[in-house]
């Protein structure tokens, strides 16, 4: 499988997008180039504000900017946007429903930075925040089009953002739509609900499953909160053997839990297998290694399907579409971790 690899899609796209939006400000906490806004800063210096390493202050400060009519886009690593400043995020931003955009880079195990840098419970933490919208990007097209989606929301938005070398899985013309899943394949045996980088992993496994006669309904999710797209509900209902959720996050409180809530609310009495970090921290290593070690990759989807169908599908490793391997120290990630 050969997806086009887009190098640092956020850089130029965000610069162009911001051109006619004078109220858009960028606020960073000492990770400007690491969050691909170094060039943005050079082009719009009067709209760029550096906080230094002070995330608690950054979040409340952004609330102040928003109260005066600006739209601050906070750029730092996902993990630093919600853990330390959680109180500020709740009370300064979410309670007054202010249009602050939290652009969280390196979600989950996409960083080799280890436990301190891996946002593995951000969706869990933020789903409980009233007024908060949660979006996740799964490819270059979504990195580009998530800006418009977030911009239109009356209230705070948290974005799980991708950087560096990003696959283009979805056609450039097919922009992310708010609270609307992408139906990637239709089928009736199992329903796979995936988000973020897990979608690319799912897409490595699904052709092999289909080859072996499994009919797969596959939906890609980019809006994690709210989570009530009728397409998702219908897909959950139609799965004969069960449902598999797949996410780059803990299995507690993320996409899988959102799916479970929906199933319970709609009386969909089926088995659900949640692929994700199984209530564990990860550690610092390459994405490929971590996907395999923690059971987040394509192989896990094969195994989950086999379990739901109670069948050994005998799918070899060679049958899984090739994953692309990004070296930890590739040029696109030349900036600090």
């Amino acid at each position: 499988m050969g997806y086009e690899i887009v190098n640092r899609p956020h850089v130029e796209n965000f610069i162009n997008w911001s051109k006619d939006k004078p109220k858009v400000l960028v606020v960073t906490a000492d990770l400007t180039n690491s969050c691909e806004v170094g060039k943005w800063r050079d082009i719009y210096p009067e709209r760029y504000i550096s906080m230094g390493m002070a995330e608690q202050n950054m979040v409340s400060f952004a609330a102040g900017l928003a109260r005066e009519g600006f739209e601050p886009w906070l750029h730092t690593f996902a993990v630093f946007l919600y853990r330390r400043p959680f109180d500020q995020l709740h009370l300064s931003v979410a309670y007054p429903n202010l249009p602050v955009r939290f652009v969280g880079f390196l979600p989950g195990i996409t960083t080799p930075g280890g436990v301190t840098h891996q946002a593995i419970d951000d969706i869990n933490a933020l789903r409980g925040v009233p007024n908060m919208t949660i979006l996740e990007t799964g490819d270059a097209t979504e990195v580009e089009s998530v800006l418009d989606v977030a911009h239109k929301i009356d209230g705070p938005v948290y974005i799980r953002m991708l950087r560096g070398e990003v696959s283009r899985i979805f056609p450039k013309a097919e922009a992310m739509q708010f609270n609307q899943a992408r139906v990637l394949s239709n089928g009736f045996d199992v329903t796979v609900i995936s988000s973020g980088i897990s979608t690319e992993e799912a897409l490595r496994a699904i052709p092999a499953l289909q080859e072996h006669g499994v009919s797969v309904q596959h939906l890609h999710i980019s809006t994690l909160k709210p989570f009530d797209d009728p397409q998702v509900i219908e897909s959950l209902k139609s799965a004969k053997h069960g449902i598999i959720s797949m996410e780059n996050h803990s299995v507690i409180g993320g996409l899988g839990s959102a799916v479970a809530d929906l199933m319970a609310e709609h009386g969909i009495g089926k088995k659900l297998i949640k692929i994700g970090l199984k209530d564990t921290y990860a550690h610092g290593a390459s994405q490929k290694y971590l996907l395999q070690k923690y059971g987040l990759g394509a192989r896990s989807l094969i195994e989950a399907t086999e379990k739901l169908m109670d069948k050994d599908l005998k799918i070899s490793e060679e049958e899984l579409s090739q994953t692309r391997v990004i070296d930890v120290h590739s040029t696109a990630k030349a900036e600090a971790l």
Binding site: G52, N57, S60, F61, G64, D87, Q88, S92, N97, I153
Partner: protein
């Protein structure tokens, strides 16, 4: 317009009556800050006319998309200045100040402090005179730094005055905000600290001493005015002087939160001054002293 010293007196009286009525209240906060608030309202701030209803309506709901809810800020007027109370436990003092300065009906202190109304004990941004929901302390200053920078960018006139409590200097976020305000060379942000030396667990020197606050503030680049927070003239002069500063000014107002009622000093000594639930004897003393204040 009521004289400044009378406004201060009224702040104490209204809060004392509230404390008796509700059998509990943040009386010491009002007693310590009465002169600061009255001076700010009467002599320093250019707030403009209140745009909030004289008798506040009931609580209409928390902010939601398309429904921002009531803004406590509207009772402070359309500016150009803005006063932001950071420690939300001073809400009763603020409500009392609004009444004393003719921005809110005195009856609101009774009518609107019941369940489902706006005058909550620990105020939030829908409460009259409260701008942010900062009951979790040491967040309002950061918000105000953001607003001050935004107003600079928009070329808006006026000053944002932030009222802090010294207890908030124990929180790291306060220093992050000061660091930023200094780096930004903000001249439209002014800070007043109620340096009353108390916190929930008792006297700060016993709980977590702050040491030389003025030195710490100066080391952060602040222009510090160390004054008697009950002396109207000193407060007024410091505020006027701060308005002329190009840099970050902090007025460190040393206050005695037991000022006004005799039994409060015992409570200070017994580390029970943060929240006052009156004993029968205290209620008698307070009622008697209130009558002659």
């Amino acid at each position: 317009m009521m004289q400044t010293k009378d406004v201060a007196n009224e702040i104490r009286k209204h809060t004392a009556r509230w404390t008796i009525r509700a059998n509990g209240g943040y009386l010491a906060q009002a007693c310590g800050s009465a002169e600061i608030l009255s001076t700010l309202f009467n002599d320093v701030l250019d707030l403009g006319k209140s745009t909030g209803p004289f008798m506040p309506s009931e609580f209409i709901g928390v902010p939601k998309p398309g429904a921002p809810g009531t803004r406590g800020e509207s009772w402070l007027g359309n500016g150009p200045d803005l006063l932001v109370i950071s420690p939300a436990h001073y809400a009763t003092a603020m409500y009392s100040a609004l009444v004393a300065t003719g921005r809110m009906d005195e009856q609101a202190l009774i009518k609107c402090s019941k369940d489902g109304q706006l005058l909550e004990m620990i105020g939030a941004e829908h409460s009259p005179g409260m701008v942010v929901s900062s009951g979790s302390l040491a967040t309002a200053l950061s918000v105000c730094v953001g607003r001050a920078i935004a107003r600079q960018k928009l070329n808006k006139p006026g000053f944002i005055w932030v009222f802090l409590s010294d207890g908030e200097l124990q929180e790291g976020a306060t220093w992050e905000a000061l660091q930023l305000a200094k780096a930004m060379k903000l001249s439209n942000l002014k800070i007043v600290i109620d340096n009353n030396g108390m916190q929930v667990d008792g006297q700060m020197n016993n709980v977590m001493p702050l040491g030389a606050i003025e030195d710490k503030l100066r080391a952060f680049g602040c222009e510090v005015y160390d004054i008697d927070g009950h002396n109207l003239e000193e407060i007024n002069l410091a505020c006027k002087s701060a308005l002329q500063d190009d840099s970050l000014s902090v007025i460190l107002a040393r206050t005695k939160p037991w000022t006004g009622f005799s039994f409060l000093l015992d409570r200070w000594e017994n580390n029970k001054l943060h929240f006052i639930r009156l004993t029968e004897i205290e209620k008698e003393i307070l009622t008697k002293e209130l009558a002659v204040l």
